[in-house]
């Protein structure tokens, strides 16, 4: 039996009819066409599907769409303000923190959730925040540098 739900994603409301077994990841990708969030493992281990739900980083593959309710969801598409990229995105680009790019959206969202909570994080806190985002390409060092740099930029604004 399908359920009528309303999702708030990147500031917009969407009314949908979904099966309970559909995850938030399935719905944002297939029903809302927001394909920036990636499916890497589907079991909450790799973090490629990380989105921000009411300010907290979560694996969208482990949240049922019907569970979300009034919580506000932010995906990678909601980060940039039209042409202007978020400092995290700029930093990732300029620090070489992107290679194949598959982990990138999830990684950036975990970083955003961290910086929103802790604008001046220590290196250990950065690593902890992205420990649930696996990357097979970069070795993480450039990602950590990018997040530090973005934090500095945001603080100076």
């Amino acid at each position: 039996m399908k359920h009528q739900i309303r999702l708030n994603v990147n500031g917009a409301d969407y009314d949908l009819l979904v099966e309970p077994r559909k995850t938030l990841l399935d719905v944002i990708r297939n029903d809302l066409g927001l394909i920036g969030t990636k499916k890497g493992c589907n079991t909450g281990e790799c973090g490629a599907c990380t989105v921000i739900m009411d300010g907290k980083a979560v694996n969208a593959c482990l949240v049922l769409a019907v569970q979300v309710k009034e919580k506000k969801i932010m995906t990678i598409e909601g980060l940039a303000e039209s042409e202007k990229l978020h400092p995290l995105q700029e930093a990732f680009i300029h620090h070489g923190a992107i290679q194949c790019g598959y982990c990138t959206p999830g990684m950036i969202m975990s970083a955003k959730a961290l910086l929103d909570k802790k604008p001046n994080p220590e290196e250990g806190e950065i690593k902890e925040a992205i420990a649930g985002n696996l990357c097979r390409c970069t070795g993480y060092l450039s990602i950590i540098e990018a997040i530090k740099s973005a934090a500095k930029t945001e603080r100076s604004v």
Binding site: T43, K56, Q67
Partner: protein, 287 residues
């Protein structure tokens, strides 16, 4: 996942009667970080999911000098991690919460879900047992309080019966001069199931040289989290020195009952119980 019907009770009562009605073909959904994985891997295929996260009032963390700590079963692991009260007064629980999964998982996984999932390797259970925690279980007809060390009956199994729900966890106020340490041993720093988990809580005498009381709880080395009772006994009331430490560590290891699996051999786990009980006690003594 296979299809299922989905319910969102708005009260404990509604949840309980639903669970009773659905006669064991329903699973309780809270955080979903264990349940949904098992359903996706097709280990289980419940016909119904009952989402209890909408039930108000079950996610609070309260502390009073008189009663100690009360944790609602729907409090997330991240709530435990962020709670200043827990960080200040029960640091062993703060540590254990931090070790669980990854940030994304901690943000939605609930304490209740973690305990009811009853993985022998769970992080919060040994810490809570060391703290002397108990669980409040309610059904339509009654409520009871069960010591957490009696809550687990086997891997993935608890004393909960169909129609019962875990609603709160109580942690008594700690005696003064108490110290606790939790170690999770694994091969990576995160995204790991514990090879062994050791929680030690001790209450020291005035000078801090001997234990008035001690609890040693072993995780991931038996079908359930388990207290090393014999080891506790020989340590209780004694003055800790190198040879007692060896004996306590050795006995703890003897009381463990680990298996060999893809992660580690039983021999290695037994050896690690010794290593980490020693390290935990040494760390407490220096604190």
């Amino acid at each position: 996942m296979k299809p299922f019907d989905y319910f969102e009770p708005q009260s404990i009562d509604e949840a309980l009667s639903l669970l009773k009605k659905l006669r064991g073909e329903a699973k309780v959904l809270a955080g979903g970080t264990d349940l949904l994985v098992q359903m996706k891997q097709r280990n289980i295929a419940p016909k119904y999911l009952v989402n209890i996260k909408g039930i108000p009032g079950l996610d609070r963390i309260r502390y009073s000098e008189k009663e100690g700590l009360t944790i609602g079963s729907l409090a997330t692991i991240a709530d435990l991690e962020d709670s200043l009260i827990i960080r200040e007064r029960y640091p062993i629980l703060h540590t254990a919460a931090r070790e669980l999964g990854t940030q994304q998982v901690r943000n939605v996984a609930t304490v209740g879900g973690n305990l009811c999932n009853a993985s022998p390797a769970a992080e919060t259970a040994p810490a809570l047992i060391a703290l002397g925690a108990s669980a409040k279980i309610v059904s339509r007809s009654k409520e009871k309080v069960v010591k957490l060390e009696d809550f687990f009956t086997g891997p993935g199994e608890t004393v909960l019966k169909t129609g019962e729900m875990l609603v709160e966890i109580y942690v008594p106020k700690l005696a003064s001069n108490s110290k606790g340490v939790y170690f999770k041993h694994a091969f990576r720093k995160k995204l790991e199931t514990a090879i062994v988990g050791i929680a030690v809580l001790a209450n020291f005498n005035g000078k801090g040289e001997s234990f008035k009381d001690i609890r040693i709880v072993l995780g991931a080395v038996a079908p359930t989290p388990k207290r090393a009772l014999r080891a506790e006994e020989i340590a209780r009331g004694k003055r800790m020195d190198e040879s007692l430490l060896e004996e306590v560590a050795f006995l703890s290891s003897e009381e463990s009952n680990p298996i060999t699996d893809v992660r580690a051999t039983a021999e290695y786990r037994r050896e690690m119980v010794k290593v980490f009980v020693k390290r935990a006690i040494k760390e407490m003594m220096n604190l």
